[in-house]
């Protein structure tokens, strides 16, 4: 695993934007006045959403908001690898390198990143890209997987990833999901098992309303 040190170049200050601040308050409201530090992980996450990474002033500001010692907030930020302690590119690529993805071609994706972007965590000159290797993203069925921003790009070949990067570089939006166009994790080329309806009652899945389903999104 990468060695996680704090960036040597730190901004001089940090402040939540109005809308991030509102989200932060929402998290803080979940906890009693004396236990506000329970919100440290969501708040660090919001800071990262806003800035792309978690800076020293951000850690200080969040500790102060939550009335907790700075060293405790620092401990949390350095413990979880999801918090990035260095600035990243505008598009930060998280390439899954765990076994299933590795077996399905993650090595090529990493090689592409190394070639086109540079060593992990290094930001390209134009500030557009950076990448890192991460542990299993939990979507092994669609291996190999890369997470860009909050979305998964699946079934990738090096060419697919290259194409994604070209479009991102050109300022276009990219469509998450399988690069081969399969639906979610459904078997490619149609169902191959349980084709014999006599083996089960044959009814199709009944759609149910998921209470926590986002209003839109893929």
């Amino acid at each position: 695993m990468s060695v996680r040190r704090l960036a040597s170049n730190q901004p001089s200050s940090f402040a939540f934007s109005a809308d991030m601040l509102e989200k932060a308050r929402w998290w803080m409201a979940k906890y009693p006045e004396t236990r506000l530090q329970s919100a440290v992980i969501p708040l660090l996450w919001l800071a990262q959403e806003q800035e792309g990474w978690v800076s020293e002033p951000a850690i200080r500001a969040i500790a102060e908001m939550l009335g907790m010692p700075v060293i405790r907030a620092l401990e949390v930020a350095t413990f979880y690898t999801m918090f990035r302690l260095h600035p990243v590119g505008k598009h930060h690529l998280q390439i899954c390198g765990t076994t299933p993805c590795m077996l399905r071609g993650a090595e090529e994706l990493k090689a592409l990143c190394k070639g086109r972007i540079g060593p992990a965590f290094q930001v390209t000159q134009d500030g557009l890209f950076s990448w890192e290797e991460v542990e299993c993203l939990g979507a092994c069925v669609n291996a190999p997987v890369a997470a860009i921003h909050d979305y998964y790009h699946e079934d990738l070949t090096a060419q697919d990833l290259e194409g994604l990067m070209d479009r991102l570089a050109a300022g276009e939006t990219v469509q998450p999901g399988s690069a081969r166009g399969r639906q979610r994790s459904a078997p490619e080329g149609g169902t191959a098992v349980l084709t014999d309806k006599s083996l089960y009652d044959g009814s199709l899945a009944v759609p149910v309303a998921l209470p926590n389903r986002p209003a839109s999104g893929s």
């Binding site: 695993m1 060695v3 996680r4 040190r5 704090l6 020293e56 850690i59 010692p69 700075v70 060293i71 405790r72 620092l74 401990e75 350095t78 413990f79």
Partner: protein
């Protein structure tokens, strides 16, 4: 009580005891590295694993509850093999460098390795480990505490001692995870840049040499061997009740006489008692309290003899500075008397004329006393403060058989006499109790002595457990004692203290100095009680138990100071405070450099192109080089000992006041601009311009 079996022996323990406690009371032992009484057990070293019948896996004894009927094995071959393997891992990252390590001979890791014969695979020179996250440069930035994380075994005790379970300063915490885990400061600042108060509690619990007091004993031994100056040593009250532990004597053994004999053998010409100055502190602080009560100003008064607490106020709550007693601590009062007072003048013409000075050393239970010796306004009065542990090293280094020394040594006169009130300074509540004993005298003068009716013992102020202790003292009013900096922080969170008390004692370490960061490292959970019992026994058997009964102190007032808080006493025995990083703090440090004619030191406080308008014949000094030359060459050469002259701040604690009393008595003030200085490390502040304004 529950009964269990350990290595075949039956043992009864109280319910709730850990297996470690149980096996210790059964006379068994397992190696431990990461446990410490009073701190939570994290079970990270895994050396204390034991087999409990019925459990599928070995259990860490330090944090497993003993259950009735447990059958426990502590030394099976499997456990031994596991421990050996575990130690191999630890040593793979650890410098094999004991002979150059400050804690050589006082190190839990080293002891385990040698006792268990675990060193065979310890490489002579471990490869720089690929798992270590950074080249870990030792941090010697603090004048009190050195950190060298290459020796860290990641037990976590320092983070706990500085965190919730201890001092609550949160200077040290655990960053990263897995093999990268390390105790770090906030954003890897050097210790001196953090809010560290130098209390040394982290040092006290560190099982290895990763945290040590800044070592000065080598320098002191060398100076003693050179024998080219009269040498003077003072010993703090908490040292004499604890040094015995370093030599295998029962905790709580009083070793005053042995200690004095050992110091003489080490080569000190005069062995004095810090307690003398503690009595003096009481006279000054008591008189100050009465004056404040009369004027109803700056109440409650906070005691100022704990430098950890003074550091805390200056760093975190400078708004409280005006409440601090301006009396110097006993160490510094003693230092100024020994180096610059009548005693020093009696040491010969050279010293009396200010051409030389005695070498003054103090033996303290405390690491913060080291940075106190460097405080502006008093630096140099004590040349070196050594901890109790460092003294033990010196004694061992000179092969002095401490435990068998006769306990008959006596302190020298004139700075060696003391009362029981001074002795209890070393315990939490002691300063306040000493004030209580003397208060009535200060209120009514001699009449109180004749009647002798005033209470001597204030039991409600004693004890090493309670956070805050209170009492109501006739003639003075309600007082409080904060036992440890965490208790003080808690009290200061609300504003109730402002009206509830007239005087508040704060000691940064729990138990007071007897629990200080410079005391012997101990794993005895009752050690504070034992030391405290010894402390109060010394007081009980003292022929005099009130500070004003100290004949030496009375003579000192008769000959030099007239009365407590006189102008002369204020000049020698009182001090000033400044918020850390404030202009006032810069000015005080700068004047200190000027007084010592430390041109480089003075120049280093300025920007490279800083300006100093001296409002004198020297005109305007431009640039660091000019400033350095000015201090070195233009000023008259400095004098030593009794001849040393200082600038002093005109006000004791006014945070923005830059008025200064010159050595010749004139008063002037300064205007100062500070600015950021970017360098190789983190940016620091420096003086851009300094203008002297003659009033």
């Amino acid at each position: 009580m529950i009964t269990l079996t350990i290595d075949g022996r039956r043992v009864d323990v109280v319910e709730g005891a850990t297996l470690l406690e149980a096996l210790r009371s059964a006379g068994a032992s397992v190696p431990t590295l990461c446990d410490h009484p009073g701190l939570p057990s994290r079970a990270v070293c895994r050396l204390c694993l034991v087999e409990v019948q019925g459990e599928p896996k070995p259990q860490p004894a330090c944090c497993t509850r003993a259950r009735a009927g447990d059958r426990v094995q502590t030394r099976t071959p499997a456990l031994q093999a596991f421990r050996q393997a575990n130690m191999d891992w630890l040593l793979a990252d650890h410098p094999n460098d004991c002979q150059r390590c400050e804690v050589n001979g006082d190190c839990r890791l080293q002891r385990l390795v040698s006792e268990n014969h675990w060193g065979d695979r310890w490489q002579a020179r471990p490869e720089p480990s690929p798992t270590l996250p950074l080249p870990i440069a030792p941090d010697h930035s603090s004048p009190s505490i050195w950190r060298d994380l290459s020796k860290c075994v990641e037990c976590g005790l320092c983070a706990d001692a500085c965190g919730e379970a201890g001092q609550q300063q949160f200077v040290i915490g655990f960053a990263q995870r897995g093999s990268d885990r390390l105790p770090v400061t906030v954003f890897d600042q050097s210790l001196s840049e953090t809010g560290c108060i130098s209390c040394g509690q982290c040092v006290l619990v560190c099982p290895v040499g990763a945290l040590v007091e800044a070592p000065h004993w080598h320098t002191v031994l060398a100076a003693l061997d050179a024998r080219d100056r009269v040498s003077v040593v003072q010993v703090a009250p908490a040292t004499r009740v604890a040094i015995s532990e370093e030599f295998g004597l029962e905790p709580g053994t009083v070793s005053t006489g042995r200690l004095i004999n050992a110091l003489r053998q080490l080569g000190f010409d005069y062995v004095f008692d810090t307690n003398f100055a503690a009595d003096l502190t009481i006279m000054e602080e008591g008189a100050e309290l009465l004056a404040r009560l009369k004027a109803q100003k700056h109440l409650p008064l906070f005691t100022s003899c704990c430098p950890g607490w003074v550091n805390w106020v200056e760093i975190h709550r400078p708004d409280l500075m005006e409440h601090l007693s301006t009396a110097k601590s006993p160490q510094q009062m003693h230092g100024v008397l020994a180096k610059r007072g009548r005693f020093a003048r009696s040491l010969g013409a050279e010293i009396a004329a200010g051409r030389s000075e005695p070498y003054v050393v103090s033996i303290m239970p405390c690491t913060a006393k080291k940075d106190e010796t460097l405080r502006p306004g008093m630096s140099g009065d004590v040349d070196h403060a050594l901890t109790t542990r460092e003294l033990a090293k010196m004694i061992r280094a000179r092969n002095i058989a401490f435990a068998t020394l006769p306990d008959d040594g006596r302190f020298d006169s004139p700075l060696g006499e003391s009362t029981g009130a001074a002795q209890i300074f070393g315990a939490s509540g002691g300063v306040m109790e000493a004030i209580a004993r003397t208060a009535a005298h200060l209120v009514d003068g001699e009449s109180a002595i004749a009647g002798n009716t005033v209470l001597v013992e204030w039991r409600e102020l004693r004890g090493v457990c309670d956070g805050v202790k209170t009492a109501d003292i006739p003639g003075i009013g309600p007082v409080a004692v904060c036992n440890g900096i965490a208790a003080a922080q808690l009290m200061l969170k609300t504003e109730a203290w402002r009206s509830a008390f007239v005087a508040i004692e704060v000691m940064a370490c729990v138990g007071g100095c007897l629990g200080g960061g410079g005391e012997p490292k101990s794993l005895d959970p009752r050690v504070l009680h034992k030391r405290s019992r010894a402390m109060y026994a010394l007081d009980e058997s003292a022929p005099r138990r009130r500070s004003y009964e100290n004949e030496g102190v009375r003579r000192l007032y008769a000959m030099d100071f007239m009365e407590p808080n006189s102008a002369a006493a204020r000049e020698a025995l009182h001090t000033s405070y400044a918020a850390r990083g404030s202009k006032r703090a810069f000015l005080m440090r700068l004047l200190e450099c000027v007084d010592r004619r430390d041109g480089a030191g003075a120049a280093s406080m300025f920007h490279a192109d800083g300006v100093w308008a001296t409002a004198s014949v020297f005109g305007e000094l431009r640039g660091a080089a000019a400033i350095e030359a000015f201090v070195h060459e233009a000023l008259p050469p400095r004098r030593y000992g009794p001849g040393f002259e200082r600038h002093r701040m005109a006000s004791a604690a006014d945070p923005d006041d830059l008025a200064v009393i010159l050595p010749n008595g004139e008063v002037c003030t300064f205007a100062m601009d500070l600015g950021r200085r970017e360098g190789s490390g983190a940016p620091t502040m420096a003086i851009r311009s300094l203008r002297r304004l003659v009033i």
